[in-house]
Symmetry: C2
Subunit: 244 residues, 2 copies
């Protein structure tokens, strides 16, 4: 059989997927249920209060509001979450965005006894990271790899050859049953696996040459939010938030 056995999450690892219908963005709350330390991956500005409330409801202490990259389609919730919860913001050094903590390939994010390994997976932007938990068999791919798709490469520092190489070398080489959680989905899907994308991704199963051709011919509209979101995200999403 082709289907790989999925790895069950261990019982002291809390996982919650959250959604923003406006930008179709997924936010992820992860926590160590023993120590109560938590992280939020790709929080959205408009949902910072919801996310902080959920941490409170679950008696969690938010350690990091972290981003997979500097988003162009929504404003990050990191800045507001810092103010509400006292957490630190975290993003890649290569993103060019302000944050309390800058990370890079082979750094590790720790909360309680749990860790996320970091892979630099540029291509959609220069600063795109993939966060990977080997113990749970899950990875957060941001916009690098989407379910049956991938992030666009025609703005910010987009480079389709780089994206292709990083997906093939750093994501498709993870165990086949690894669950992949993207930053977005537009069809109501919530998760995929390495095995599925290696078999079924309509773009990334193609040759590099064909992939570049596909990406060069998407003819996508100019991103609605980019002129507002990128400057805001460069300063952690806080430019609109009063310091009072």
């Amino acid at each position: 059989s082709r289907m790989q056995q999925e790895k069950p999450l261990v019982s002291d690892f809390l996982f919650r997927q959250l959604f923003d219908t406006t930008s179709s963005t997924y936010t992820y709350l992860l926590a160590d249920t023993t120590t109560k330390e938590a992280v939020l991956i790709d929080p959205v500005f408009e949902h910072a209060v919801r996310d902080a409330q959920l941490c409170k409801d679950l008696n969690l202490s938010l350690k990091y509001a972290m981003n997979t990259h500097m988003h162009a389609d929504h404003i990050t919730g990191s800045g507001v979450l810092k103010k509400i919860t006292g957490c630190k913001s975290l993003i890649s050094k290569a993103s060019g965005a302000a944050a309390d903590i800058h990370v890079d390939e082979s750094d590790v994010v720790q909360f309680g006894r749990h860790i996320l390994k970091i892979f630099a997976t540029p291509g959609h932007t220069n600063g795109c990271l993939t966060y990977y938990s080997p113990e749970q068999g899950i990875a957060f791919t941001g916009d690098t790899l989407l379910i049956r798709g991938c992030g666009r490469t025609d703005f910010q520092e987009g480079n389709s050859a780089t994206l292709y190489q990083n997906v093939h070398e750093k994501i498709f080489t993870l165990p086949p049953a690894t669950k992949l959680y993207p930053a977005h989905d537009y069809k109501g899907l919530t998760v995929t696996t390495v095995d599925e994308e290696k078999r079924l991704n309509p773009r990334l199963t193609k040759s590099l040459e064909k992939f570049i051709e596909i990406m060069d011919n998407l003819n996508l509209p100019y991103p609605k939010m980019i002129d507002k979101a990128v400057p805001a995200n460069r300063v952690c999403g806080v430019f609109e938030v009063s310091t009072e």
Copy 2:
């Protein structure tokens, strides 16, 4: 500590949550990864092709398209899925809806080696069911219990006292760490637990009298889709689908 350890899913149990942004409906794909038998809970008409494709992508054979109740806010995908995949439709006897299989309290839904126990949890409608997997520690509550909310009780055969009683007797008595997956969420939340709702549900933590008063004073608008959805769902959502 108040937090209950969540039960990890066993590795031969596939679980996928799917979303319809129009009606904010969650559909659930469950499968036995050994035998490949699968069920879809609360499929949505407009996503039947997506759902059938996902079954195909995962090499699954769809056994049942099953509903928690006769929905008033969207048309079920059961009828279309029957035509595309050859699956059987399944709903409660008390729903009054046509289906291949009618079930009731203490019946069991089986796919591969996995089972879902059935609780009759009327109150939102007469035919509302909750599907429960004791082994996985998960339950599908339909509109009976939503995350920090519950289904409305002011149309179809709604009865707030009945809903309250069923939630307290049949859902809140499950193990506290049981994960509860609702038919809808309007804030981007995807899951809750028995423990959370017993502590935090703003309606169902109240006394029965107070709950009835809350439900009597919601002043909700007449449901947009009801005049189209209920007649369609009474015949399994197939009235619009050509038999060709």
